[in-house]
């Protein structure tokens, strides 16, 4: 299967502190990869390096076969991003916000595209509302709609369902899986919801103190760390129970 994201020897230092320490990984086309780890593990820094928001201290990033540093514009027009920590201009309506991003991504026939996404994310009733009047769950849905405007080949999602109610979160997960199946969308997913990670991810990358502690299918990682669930594995790692590291390849 084609590799859509290649990270090699990725390192990021901030004033001598290594937030990400020489990590390498791939994401294949149509694969959902979960990036997880305790706070300060290096997830956000890794995500931001892959999006070109933070310059790596060392290492190479290739996305869709191109070098991120050299072909930033081409790559960013074929990927997208959504985060529950990032918002949209408050004074603009939902429709206006989505129109602006459709322009930024060069979406052809934006009106049609917007209507389709607005229907998919069930935000028809708020499409003319100012973003400042929306609940955090509604903003998350608009943000997810924005992230699919350009039919991305790779999607970077930072805790995409954290503000959604269980029903909408479940529907969003199904929608993302559906797009993945139909269009071969690849997703790099971060979440602190371990059940969600188990359900969504084909593979997970477990980061701790900037290094990859484990990588594989959720079931493989659980077996490796002798945990009944990803949540149990996460708690063991976060609380530094050294016994659980037996057999881990760190």
């Amino acid at each position: 299967m084609e590799t859509v994201v290649e990270a090699r020897g990725l390192t990021k230092e901030f004033n001598g502190f290594r937030a990400v320490d020489n990590i390498s990984f791939d994401i294949l086309r149509g694969e959902i990869v979960g990036l997880l780890g305790p706070n300060g593990a290096g997830k956000t820094t890794t995500l931001h390096m892959l999006l070109g928001l933070t310059t790596p201290t060392a290492g190479d990033i290739r996305i869709l076969g191109r070098n991120l540093e050299k072909d930033r514009e081409e790559i960013l027009s074929r990927v997208n991003f959504s985060s529950s920590y990032v918002s949209l201009p408050y004074s603009l309506t939902v429709w206006e916000n989505l129109s602006v991003f459709a322009g930024l991504y060069g979406v052809k026939r934006p009106g049609e595209k917007l209507k389709g996404l607005i229907k998919t994310f069930e935000i028809e009733d708020i499409k003319d509302s100012a973003t400042r009047k929306l609940s955090s769950g509604q903003i998350t849905r608009v943000s997810l709609a924005k992230s699919l405007l350009n039919d991305p080949e790779v999607l970077f999602l930072d805790e995409p369902t954290s503000s959604l109610d269980p029903d909408m979160a479940d529907r969003t997960r199904k929608l993302l899986k559906d797009i993945k199946e139909k269009k071969g969308l690849s997703i790099l997913y971060t979440s602190h919801n371990m059940k969600e990670m188990e359900e969504m991810c084909d593979r997970i990358i477990f980061l701790d103190r900037g290094k990859i502690l484990a990588e594989g299918r959720p079931s493989e990682v659980m077996r490796e760390f002798k945990g009944a669930s990803l949540e149990e594995v996460f708690l063991k790692i976060a609380r530094k129970e050294k016994t659980c590291f037996d057999g881990a390849d760190g």
């Binding site: 990021k12 901030f14 937030a19 956000t44 820094t45 931001h48 999006l51 070109g52 928001l53 933070t54 310059t55 930033r72 514009e73 081409e74 960013l76 027009s77 990927v79 997208n80 991003f81 985060s83 920590y85 990032v86 918002s87 949209l88 201009p89 408050y90 004074s91 991003f101 930024l104 991504y105 060069g106 973003t131 943000s143 924005k146 970077f156």
Partner: protein, 263 residues
């Protein structure tokens, strides 16, 4: 009334000033600038023997032209702040938009704001004070162009500083243009300034623009030398501003600060 609560609340404001040089500077900034500008205006007026030449044109014209510089600077900085306040910067910079394209869009919006603000000012000046700025004729074009370019330079540099040092420097967006007001000699000739400040004024494009404006009102002639100075300085400053922004943008990416702007 609960004294400890009042003290706690006051302390909260004092903490803000303790660690923020821009906030601390702001305490002294406005009174000092007011004193400088109005002090020089007073010096000019008190030293003038006889009737002032075309008083309304000197002051109202100067005010309208000064606003051009101010609006252009603010049009850029405040539009950037809007993205920062709405936590939208990451969405923008993960899109294919390049930093240069972003800056150009800020320049365009600053022009739109300028046209709207200037239209109102020009109309009110004409209605209330019978002052028609268009009596400058085509000579107005190089004056305005220079003020726009200087406003852009200051705006781009301000935006780069806010991008780099975050929310605590956003006070610059509101006040940095006024730093240039005393040395721009907006309401008085450069000759009023003390020698040291006059030397600084020589390297401020707007001082040449306002000297030029006064020459046009007084003699009706094109102030070629002043305009040449203004254009040359502006060309250097706009190039510096773009280089400064690009360098800061790279530094911000190196330091991973893009996601922290606005916090």
């Amino acid at each position: 009334m609960n004294l400890p609560r009042i003290i706690a609340c006051t302390t909260r404001y004092l903490y803000l000033y303790k660690r923020s040089l821009p906030r601390l500077m702001e305490v002294f900034y406005w009174p000092l600038l007011d004193l400088l500008v109005w002090g020089f205006v007073s010096t000019y007026l008190s030293g003038y023997k006889g009737t002032l030449p075309d008083f309304v044109s000197f002051f109202v014209g100067a005010l309208i032209l000064w606003d051009i510089l101010f609006r252009c600077q603010q049009g850029i900085s405040v539009s950037f702040l809007e993205d920062m306040w709405s936590r939208n910067l990451l969405n923008i910079f993960v899109s294919p938009l390049s930093p240069l394209e972003y800056v150009v869009s800020l320049l365009v919006i600053s022009l739109v704001k300028l046209v709207l603000a200037s239209s109102v000012m020009v109309a009110v000046a004409w209605l209330l004070y019978s002052f028609n700025i268009f009596t400058f004729g085509v000579l107005l074009v190089p004056l305005v162009a220079n003020l726009i370019i200087m406003g852009w330079s200051v705006g781009i540099i301000t935006t780069a500083i806010i991008l780099r040092y975050g929310q605590e420097t956003e006070v610059l967006a509101w006040g940095i243009a006024f730093l240039f007001q005393p040395v721009s000699a907006v309401f008085y000739p450069v000759s009023v300034l003390p020698p040291a400040i006059r030397a600084v004024a020589r390297f401020v494009p707007s001082s040449h623009v306002f000297e030029g404006m006064r020459r046009i009102i007084r003699d009706g002639t094109l102030p070629v030398e002043e305009l040449a100075w203004a254009f040359a300085l502006n060309a250097a400053y706009i190039c510096f501003a773009i280089i400064f922004f690009s360098w800061n943008f790279r530094e911000v990416k190196k330091k991973g600060l893009l996601s922290k702007v606005g916090e």
